[in-house]
Subunit: 361 residues, 2 copies
């Protein structure tokens, strides 16, 4: 794979994001040098193959600052001073603050252009890093009054080299957006998961996929999130205040659920939830509806391989696949998603070949 990114890239900070960027760029044969305040973290990232250790006479064309949010502005300023010919970017989750801080401190912001890859994991550190972390994810680039189009194009090249989809958005619109699509959901997941702390085991034993999905991100790192929430507090608060107003209406309805207006209040909230979730674009960034089908297989890897081989023979491309099986059951459930126009023929063909297929719209 030949890289769009030219010249040396210096990555400062070898956590999940910095190490993942290094791994991805190295896979594209970019010259990557790494630095980290912690020698042991740096050594790990180098061992993982994310790049080589920075040397005094390195001459990076691009510096990527991937340090915790509360140190971002300070490290960006230091990197601007240290590398007078380089473009400096960062990957922090909040963008207006660092830019304002740098401008106020008189830093040469004409060489700074912030960005934010919308990727992460519940786990952190170089060990959790992966070259494919950014694959198919939006990578927001936040142009400002003193940045240039050529600089934005260089960051777009970086994003594309890592498999991400570049998106240009001013810093304050970015921060408003992540307040509602990322920061509020994080807090709401934590608020919900906190209800389980004192729940009896016979309750948590009944947990289904709904509870798992609604609380999964509550496993995220508190220290990192306190920084993010603090940095974007004024934009998150209005979202949660609106939520509290709706919650108060729900609580009033639950106090007297048969009172006039109570069923309507609950129905309105549930309908608003329907409307809200419908606004999320599909997995592929489009509203393309896929057809789902479920195949029952013996719970052995050989069976699944045989199924996929036969689907391949039938010339059908799988859009998604999920495997589920339970401890006692001798069966596995494979959920496949395919293009709608391929579905009915695939179902018929698989049934004819003896597979147990359930289908729904």
């Amino acid at each position: 794979m030949s890289a769009r990114t030219t010249g040396q890239v210096r990555v400062v900070g070898s956590g999940l994001l910095g190490t993942s960027i290094g791994l991805g760029l190295r896979a594209a044969d970019v010259d990557v040098v790494l630095d980290d305040a912690s020698p042991s973290t740096l050594a790990l990232a180098v061992d993982y193959g994310a790049g080589r250790r920075a040397l005094p006479d390195d001459a990076p064309a691009l510096v990527v600052v991937a340090v915790p949010p509360d140190r971002t502005a300070e490290v960006v300023a230091a990197e601007l001073a240290r590398n007078p010919d380089a473009l400096v970017t960062d990957v922090a989750s909040v963008k207006a603050g660092p830019l304002a801080e740098l401008a106020a401190a008189g830093a040469p912001v004409e060489r700074y252009l912030g960005s934010h890859p919308m990727a992460g994991r519940e786990r952190s550190g170089p060990i959790a890093a992966r070259a494919d972390l950014f694959l198919g994810r939006p990578w927001v680039i936040t142009p400002h009054g003193r940045s240039t189009d050529e600089q934005a194009a260089r960051l777009e090249a970086l994003a594309l080299d890592l498999g991400a989809t570049p998106v240009r958005l001013p810093a304050d619109r970015h921060d408003d957006a992540v307040a509602v699509v990322s920061h509020a959901p994080q807090l709401v997941a934590s608020l919900l998961a906190a209800r389980l702390v004192d729940a009896p085991a016979h309750a948590t034993d009944l947990a289904g996929q709904g509870l798992r999905d609604t609380t999964r991100i509550a496993a995220s790192d508190p220290a990192l999130w306190v920084q993010i929430l603090t940095a974007n507090a004024e934009r998150i608060a209005p979202v949660l205040e609106d939520l509290r107003d709706d919650l108060d209406a729900v609580l009033t309805a639950l106090e007297a659920p048969s009172a006039p207006g109570a069923p309507r209040a609950l129905a309105d909230l549930l309908a608003a939830g329907n409307a809200g979730v419908a606004r999320i674009p599909g997995k592929h960034g489009t509203d393309l509806k896929l057809a789902s089908l479920t195949v029952l297989i013996d719970d052995t890897p050989g069976q699944l391989a045989r199924l996929l081989t036969e689907i391949g023979e039938l010339g059908v491309n799988l859009e998604d696949l999920r495997l589920e099986h339970s401890p006692g059951a001798p069966l596995g459930v494979v959920e496949l998603q395919v293009a709608p126009e391929a579905a009915s023929e695939l179902v018929a063909d698989l049934k004819q070949r003896g597979w147990r297929v359930a289908e729904w719209a």
Copy 2:
């Protein structure tokens, strides 16, 4: 497959649950008769193969009432009267109310034993039904002072015939449990998704897996959920009141995020979220930790089949599998979960065979 359930089963109500029960029992060769207030819904369920149409001289040994929650007690009472020799159960999501209503109305509750399969989908009706809906899910049976152990055993046989895991729990403990693991999460997902109704498109375009997961169940049917929430209102309210107290603390912290105590308040909530999510048992109903590994493949079905064939040849059993790929990218990402003791050898073997493998703990 030979069924544990003996005698004829009458399923009243041909929605998602009733039709799925019929499909599952028919697959085990149980004699199933169906009834529904709507002739067209009944005709659909019969066409789907969920059982045959009920006739006047049917003599069911077991009646399963699968009607909307607000009609459950009334229909159970009618079925008790109509089938004087049958055990009658229901599948409604709230259990203490119907039992109390029946007892108050003088119904022969010694032949009624409530149950609740913890399964559902965002879609409803017979078309969404599937024989495997209950596979691996808990099926709660709620014994009461006038039900017998033999009756509970018959419902356990029904649950096992449908692949579910039977759990015995008194009705009020069940209702407390579902308030926290099912009903509160539904409302919280709706409250969060409602924030997206007025969000700009450049915000929803940045939606990642976290937002998708936390809001997925907000797509559920409002009419059904108003009934469930109304029936269990007094047990859901305290859960949401606790959540509102925590939310108020978060809002106070967000108003002055640098004030003494504010970072601590946010960290405490995030840590409680960590602790809460850790209490959810693993996918397989145990706390077994699986090892994850990621393999990059060309985005073709043949590649995936070849990968799984080779894993089968290596004698490794897949515990879970997820496939993700993005529109522009020529690569697919396969996330595999295997027993921890098998992981490192599998990674080495796959790498040796030329697969591109990333691994993490």
